[in-house]
């Protein structure tokens, strides 16, 4: 069932709840929703809903209810126990925001590669030595079980051929050497004024006092090699496979 169909079926219930006529969904309404979103929602959710202080709203996944009515209620009333506030906009304007949110994920680009070949390539290249999918593989690198819904195709492609282009702070590497010459090179798990928490390349966890270091630095490049030897088709296949990794 398409998003639009879901939206239309839900209209009578929405109308009842909001005491409004069927919610708008024209391009003009979506544009109006975007305007409201950018003045009210974007400070936390990002200019294009990409997320920030608040969750990404552009991927079509919502953690507190995914129906249109859920979205309407959450936007109107806020979400208890979170920083999400309510507001005092009219029901029509809220529905416009809902329409805008739906539009963000309505035209998600589809991959051109072959996902089956990509899955074989994933195995052949030994990606599971660092990554985990559906419980299989290593926890050293990011879990890719649902990566298809979290990243754009271009982001996935770039992560394969130039992984250092965008490294999440969780995957920055800490290099720590103590006064006895012991050296640890691993992922920076956490850090405060006095201590640093590191996962080494054997997935062992360590905490060190910074005061005890003779050399401590953070490297923001990726530990993953750049797979530039892959052909363009192979990259597309791998991207297609990763794109299929999303919530069922």
């Amino acid at each position: 069932m398409s998003r639009l169909a879901t939206f239309l079926i839900a209209i009578p219930l929405m109308a009842q709840q909001s005491d409004q006529h069927p919610p708008p969904s024209t391009p003009a309404d979506i544009a109006a929703g975007a305007k409201t979103f950018r003045s009210h929602c974007a400070p936390c959710h990002g200019y294009n809903g990409e997320g920030g202080r608040g969750p990404n709203l552009a991927a079509g996944r919502f953690y507190h209810g995914s129906s249109d009515l859920d979205l309407f209620n959450n936007i109107t009333n806020g979400i208890a126990g979170t920083e999400m506030p309510g507001n005092f906009y009219s029901a029509v304007r809220i529905w416009q925001v809902v329409a805008y949110l739906r539009s963000l994920s309505a035209n998600i680009e589809k991959p051109t590669g072959d996902a089956r070949r990509g899955a074989k390539l994933y195995d052949a290249q030994g990606c599971a030595r660092c990554h985990r999918i559906d419980g299989s593989g290593s926890g050293l690198g990011p879990d890719l079980s649902q990566i298809g819904s979290a990243r754009s195709l271009e982001h996935l492609r770039l992560a394969i051929i130039d992984p250092s282009a965008d490294v999440q702070p969780r995957y920055w590497r800490a290099v720590f050497e103590d006064s006895q010459g012991k050296k640890i090179n691993g992922f920076l798990m956490n850090e405060d004024t006095y201590t640093v928490q590191i996962m080494d390349m054997n997935e062992q966890l360590h905490t060190y006092e910074k005061a005890g270091s003779v050399n401590y630095r953070i490297e923001k490049s990726s530990a993953m090699p750049a797979y530039t030897a892959l052909s363009a088709d192979e990259v597309n296949d791998l991207v297609a496979y990763l794109w299929t990794r999303r919530p069922q």
């Binding site: 950018r38 003045s39 400070p43 920030g52 109107t76 806020g78 920083e83 506030p85 507001n87």
Partner: protein
């Protein structure tokens, strides 16, 4: 010290209540009776049982857990063995200050939705007689029975549906409760109110955004009606001059000023009001026509001291824009201003204290990088002044933001900010710490660096200590003279609150909120 203690206990025994005289007394170090520990707002205590000699022996006395997941920014009141704590969003508990056990709890049922720009928080209560006063996020002011928590009166200060909220602690002066308002991100018209402590009836209101025809009322068109200038952090009181000194917040909308040309008085200002009438005596605007959300909602620190050879009544003010100011408290005259943190928006201050702006600092659609960031080089969390070291202590930030100019549209009760700023740069989060400034020059005397940007205030004591906290969850004590760390403890939760200290059964306690709990420490 013994004499002071006995005097304080005697007052408590005789009166059994917290009188106005006690609020203004310099002999109440056993208690913590106002938001900043006194009308001069030094957040300083002359208690010295915890000192540089024994701070390393600080041990946990008790913990009180709050039933909330909201951010805790409270600064408690302690009166005669009872601690009064505000809990977010707008609840109050009375605790035994020795054990942390609860006497009573006031729970406020709130309407939905509630719009508060930066979290449903509360920074504290005020006390007078047998009454405790709290402001609420639905913009009410409530008087509670100090012994039972029963509601004595409950008045609407403003309409929460138009973005008004109360997050700051009230300040009691004489028989009045002074109460500020929040809502600078919702296009409110700011004000400061005084209410009769006995009845809740409003005595006066000072509009921080004057209407046309009034002094300062040169706002374009109807922009004054949505001009901001909130008053969300507790100010100070100069009893000799009968003056309230209070800070005002940003003009609205924050980052798109197209609708509000001009200075936008009295936003981003220090205002001095006659406490009996609410009439303006003087003002000093830190940033005319602010376009960066650099509120002047810091706690004004009132000090009488020599200034370049003359005895003067001074105000020390570390402002969100990154400059430390000294003002004359009688006139508002600008005396000095020096940067205390990195800033890239002003070449300096002119002779009147107005910023000499650098080019290309305005928010833009593509984004303008600037130090300090949106949250400023300091913010609402309290500074401290220690009369023994004569140093001014504060939590500082060194970071930048991307200031973007966006659409602005006023609709009642909804955000009216004109932008989507990038407050924190993910790969350049900045850092902060504690700095001690020589208030005569603005020069840094020492600093205690932190990995992260602290949202906690500081407390200094006659024991030669400065207490502070961090977002990392550490509560620490520093040598007030040198900044050397004397003690620290990880409390396991973000600290975004101000510390206080008091005596109970002759034992000095230090309290701060961390995570969703109150932690109290002492030395055996």
């Amino acid at each position: 010290m013994r004499v002071i203690l006995l005097a304080a206990l005697a007052i408590a025994t005789v009166n059994g209540q917290v009188s106005y005289e006690r609020l203004g007394s310099s002999h109440e170090s056993a208690n913590w009776l106002t938001y900043s520990g006194g009308y001069r707002s030094w957040r300083y205590s002359d208690l010295q049982r915890i000192s540089t000699r024994n701070a390393d022996k600080l041990k946990l006395e008790w913990v009180y857990q709050m039933p909330t997941t909201l951010m805790v920014e409270t600064s408690p009141i302690v009166a005669d063995g009872v601690m009064y704590v505000s809990e977010p969003p707008s609840n109050v508990v009375a605790l035994d200050a020795k054990t942390g056990r609860q006497y009573w709890r006031y729970h406020r049922e709130l309407p939905t939705p509630i719009n508060v720009c930066c979290g449903q928080v509360n920074r504290g209560v005020a006390i007078l007689g047998n009454r405790v006063f709290v402001g609420t996020v639905d913009a009410h002011l409530v008087a509670l029975d100090a012994k039972s928590g029963a509601v004595l009166w409950d008045v609407a200060v403003a309409d929460h549906k138009t973005g008004h909220a109360i997050t700051g602690a009230p300040l009691v002066v004489k028989d009045m409760v002074i109460c500020g308002i929040a809502g600078g991100e919702y296009g409110i018209r700011g004000f400061l109110d005084a209410y009769d402590a006995a009845t809740g009836k409003r005595r006066w209101r000072f509009w921080t955004i004057p209407e046309p025809g009034q002094p300062g009322g040169d706002w374009a068109g109807d922009s004054w009606k949505t001009g901001g200038g909130p008053t969300w952090v507790t100010g100070s009181f100069d009893a000799e001059q009968n003056l309230l000194i209070w800070g005002t917040g940003n003009p609205s909308p924050d980052w798109n000023a197209d609708s509000r040309p001009g200075a936008n008085l009295y936003s981003d200002s220090a205002i001095a009001l006659d406490v009996d009438t609410g009439k303006l005596k003087w003002y000093f605007q830190f940033i005319p026509h602010d376009t960066h959300d650099w509120d002047a909602v810091q706690v004004p620190v009132l000090v009488d001291d020599d200034w370049r050879g003359q005895k003067r009544k001074l105000i020390y003010w570390a402002h969100r824009g990154g400059f430390f100011y000294v003002l004359d408290r009688q006139t508002g005259e600008f005396l000095m201003g020096e940067p205390f943190a990195k800033q890239t928006w002003a070449k300096g201050l002119d002779d009147a204290g107005h910023p000499v702006l650098l080019p290309n600092i305005e928010p833009s659609p593509e984004g303008t990088y600037l130090w300090p960031g949106v949250q400023g080089a300091t913010n609402w969390y309290s500074p401290s002044y220690n009369p023994e070291t004569k140093l001014f202590y504060l939590s500082y930030w060194e970071n930048r933001s991307v200031y973007r100019k966006g659409e602005q549209e006023y609709t009642a009760g909804n955000r009216y900010i004109g932008s989507v700023p990038l407050i924190d740069l993910p790969e350049d989060l900045g850092n902060g710490g504690i700095r001690a400034l020589n208030p005569k020059t603005g020069a840094k005397v020492w600093e205690y660096k932190l990995q992260t940007k602290p949202w906690a205030g500081v407390l200094s004591t006659a024991g030669g200590l400065v207490f502070g906290g961090s977002d990392e969850g550490y509560f620490f004590a520093l040598d007030a003279a040198t900044g050397k760390e004397m003690w620290r403890q990880n409390l396991g939760g973000i600290i975004r609150a101000n510390p206080v200290t008091y005596l109970v059964d002759g034992k000095q306690m230090v309290t701060i909120a961390a995570g969703n709990a109150m932690f109290t420490f002492g030395v055996e």
